[in-house]
Amino acid sequence: MAISEQVRAECRQLMDRYPQDRSALVPMLHLLQSEQGMVTAEGLELCAELLDLSTAEVRAVATFYTMYRLRSQGGEHHIGVCVNTACGLLGGDAIFDALSKRLSVSNGEVTADGRFTLERIECQAACTHSPVVTVDWEYFDQMDIDKMMDVIDKLEAGEEVVATRGPAVRGWRAAEKTIAGIDDGLGYKSDAIDSLMLAGLNQAKERGETAPDPKDF
C-alpha cells in the first residue's frame, strides 16, 4: 500500500514542530505505523528520505522502541495488560492468563482473525488504579477478569467501549495517530478525571483541610 500524499504532508507538519527535522522521527514512526498497521520498509524509507538519513539510521531508532511493530501487522485492537508488581500481583497476571486463554494467543501475538493483539505491558503510570489494562492504549482501570471479558464481548460484537479515563476506543491504528500528535478532536471531550484522582481533594473537603491562605503571608 502506497503512503498517501496526505500522510507525507502530516509528516512534514510534524517536522515543522521542531528546530531540527530529525526530532520528528519518533512521532513520524507512530504516524506511519498508524497508516500501515506496522512500520514497513516503505515507512522506514520515507522517514529516511524526508529526514535525510540512511534507512539503517532510521531502522536503528525504530528497533529501539517497543511500541513499533516491524515484523507483522498489529491487530485491530491492542490489549495491554500491566504485569508490573503493583498491577500484576494485584490481579493483572490472572487477567492476562484469562485473556490469553480466551483469545488463544500468547504475549505479543495477534489473534488469527486479526481482531486483537495481546501484550504484557510495563507500568502505565496508573498504579493508583491497579489492576490496569489498556485497550488501544486507553485506560481501563481497576479491572478484573469479568469486566475484561465483558470488554472483549463488546469489542467482538462491534459495540462501543468507553475507557474509564478516556474516550470510546477507536482501534489501535487511530490511537497510534493520536500518539503521533495528530489532532483527533477529543482532547477536551473525554472524562479523564475520576474519583481516585479526587481521593485527596474529597478527603480534604470532608475534613475541612486546605492549603494555607496566601492572604495570611
Binding site: R17, P19, H30, A94, C123, G181, G187, A192, A199, P214
Partner: protein
Amino acid sequence: MALTPVITAHWDEPDCFTVDGYKKVGGYRAIKKALKMDPDDVINIIKDSGLRGRGGAGFPTGMKWSFVPQNDGHPHYLTVNGDESEPGACKDIPIMMANPQALIEGIIITCWAIRAEHAFVYIRGEVPEPIRRMHAAVADAEAHGFLGENILGSGMNLKLTVTSGAGAYICGEETALLDSLEGRRGQPRLKPPFPAVAGLYSAPTVINNVETITSVPYIIENGVSWYRSMGTDKSPGFKVWAVSGHVNRPGIYEAPLGITMGELLDYAGGIRDGHELKFWLPGGSSVPLLLQDHLDTPMTYEDIAAAGSMLGTGTPMLFDDTTSVVKAITRWLEFYKHESCGKCTPCREGTAWITGSLERFQEGVGRSEDIEGLVELSNHILGRSFCALGDAAATPYEPALKAFRSEFEAARHQPVDEAFPPAATMIIPPETANLAGAAT
C-alpha cells in the same frame, strides 16, 4: 498533618483543564507578575522557595535554572519530562490530564527565567489520553495569546511542542530523553557536560519534571513565605502523593513534604481489611523498601534517606502480608532487564544475571549461593553503570534480605506461589482456582 490541595485543588471542576476554567480559579495571574520581573529575579524566587525536583532526585530547581549560561549566543531550551514510567509513579499523568494549564503557565515562567523561546513536553508514548489533552491545552493557551509571539506584550516569544516517546522507560533519564527528542535511540549520555551547558542540540537546556514545573506558578503567585509555610526547611512545599497498592482508598493526595506515611495511609483508608502492612516503597520501584517501623518517618528527602531509602517520585506503593517479597522484587528486576538500554555492560549483563537468580527463587529452586550472590552481583552494578537505571536494579536486595531473609531461604525449596497463593494477593480474586494457579 493536614492535606493541602494546591495543584489538585480544583480537579472537581468540570472545566479545570481549560484556560477559562483555570483562569476562574486564579490561573494565568502569575505570568503577569513574572513577565514584569527581571528573569534573574524569577530564578532567585524559585531558589529562595527551596523547590526541589519532583522527578526523583530532588535537585534544587532554582539552582538548576541558574546553571544555564546567559548571553552565550545559543538558543536555550526547556524540556519538561512527562515520561513517567517508573513502576509506582502515577502523578504526572494525572496532572497533565487535570491541570495542564498550570503546567503551561509554569513553562512560560520558566522559559522567561532561563531565556528560552522553545519548550517541549515529552510524554511517554503509551498514554494517548494525556497526549491529546496536552495538545488541546496548548492550542487553547495559544488561542488566548499565552503562547506564540510577544506574549502579553512582554516581548517574549515562546513555542511549545508536545512530543511523544514510543515505549522506553530509559527515556525518563534526562539525557536519554534528549537523545530521543533528537530522533535517536534513547540512550543516556555521559555527563559532564550537563544539559544546562550542552543539552538538546548541544544547546543549554533545562529538564524538569511535570510536577516541578506545575508548582512554579503557585510559588510566583503566592510567594516564598507562603510556599515555605508548608513542608520543612530543607524539603519545603506541597507535593502530589500517589498512594497505591493494598490500601482501601488508593489515589492522589496532596500534602506538604514532611507528612508521614502513617498519616497518608490514614487518609487512604488504611491497609485493606483483615490484613497488615508488610512493606512499602516511598517513591517508585527504584528505592529501597521500608517497613511498618518507618510509618512515622517524615516524608522528606532527608528523613527518608536517613531511614535507608529515598523519597524518589513520592508515590508510595504499599503491600500487605499476602505479598511475596521475592516475587515483587523479581517482577521489578524483570522490568529493569527489559528496559535496560544495553549501552553499558554492568547494567545490560547485570540485570539479566540478577533476574535469572531471582527467577530461580521464584520457582523454588534458588541456590544457597544465590542469596549472597544477589548482593555481590548488585555491587558489580551499583555506581558502575552509565545512569541510575543500573543503580535502581542494584538497590532492593540488602533491605529485602535484612527484613525477609527467611523468604529467600524458603524459596530455595518451595515456589513462592505455594507459600504466597497469588489469589490472596489480588484485589478481586478470580473465582476459578486454575486461573489463580496459572499466574506468571
